[in-house]
Amino acid sequence: MKDVYIVIPAYNEGTVITHVLKNIKKAGYKNIIVVDDCSTDDTPTLAKKQDVLVIQHAINRGAGAATKTGIDAAKQLNAKYVVTIDADGQHKPDEISHLLKQAHAYDVVIGSRMINPKGMPTSRKILNIGGSLLTLLFYGIYVRDSQSGFKVFNSKAINLIEIKFDRFEFCSEVLHEIRKKRLTYTEVPISVIYTEYSLSKGQHISNGVKMIFRMIQRFFVP
């Protein structure tokens, strides 16, 4: 697994980052890149203690920007596969292998919480369905979990996908790039660990409204 890089964009995840990194290492992945998006807590310090590569943004630019930084870093390190995973502990590192199994046949593998949404709060289900419908409306591509941060990209996808959105709407933008660049993709069911903490960190209605506005804006201001 030396050519698999795990990219974790992180912002103020000091509460859980150590636990997340330890679990990923326990699952057998050593090439970990944490991109700290100018956290105001001790996220970067704690991440460095876990002996992973930590890249720090000088100012906060958003999850999209941090993900792109991580992917660029992985490219420099000759990554064959890049796995993006959320830093809030909602994803199970054991399931990385499920996505990687499909990565040999597809350019992008999306971990989908909506294939088996057991335990998902109703508000999140609505947000996810809404996000998927919006992505279909704006970008002409439908996936069940358009806002999933748990994805695997092969080297072709890493080199072709261009992320321009800085904030959460980059998730939808990635799907747009998949369609535009004619990349192959599939969805793999993943389970989600919902805690008070991970729910507080995830997407909210207000983010959804901002996301819609930015996606509309993208039509007029490329």
């Binding site: 991109v35 590569l53 930590v54 890249i55 720090q56 943004h57 000088a58 100012i59 630019r61 958003g62 920007a65 792109k68 930084t69 660029d72 870093a73 420099q76 390190l77 321009k164 800085d166 804006q217 201001v221």
Partner: protein, 116 residues
Amino acid sequence: MISIIQIIFLLIGVLFLTSVFIQVQRDRMTKGQAIMWGLIWLCLILSTFFVQYLTIISEWLGITRPIDIIIYSSIILLFVYTYQIQLAQVKLSRELTELVRKDAINKNKTLSKRTK
């Protein structure tokens, strides 16, 4: 006889025309921007003192009141300028993100060794 409002508009026009000239001298404005803003302030001054020409123009355009030319033109100009500001803001935001990202990678010792 010159009215008070004409004096006010004249002062505003001259003040901003002077400002445009100074900005160009200090290289804070391109020639294109200077011409555009210079013309706008000049139009303000001229329309203040040559109202009869506004009447002729409004009749030609099919607008009932001459003052409406100024209102309509101002609204259009505001929209154009807002659009340009938005384009510039998006461009700046993207450039800032690129700068932050590249700086972050270059400052990382592990990665900067690889780029050398």
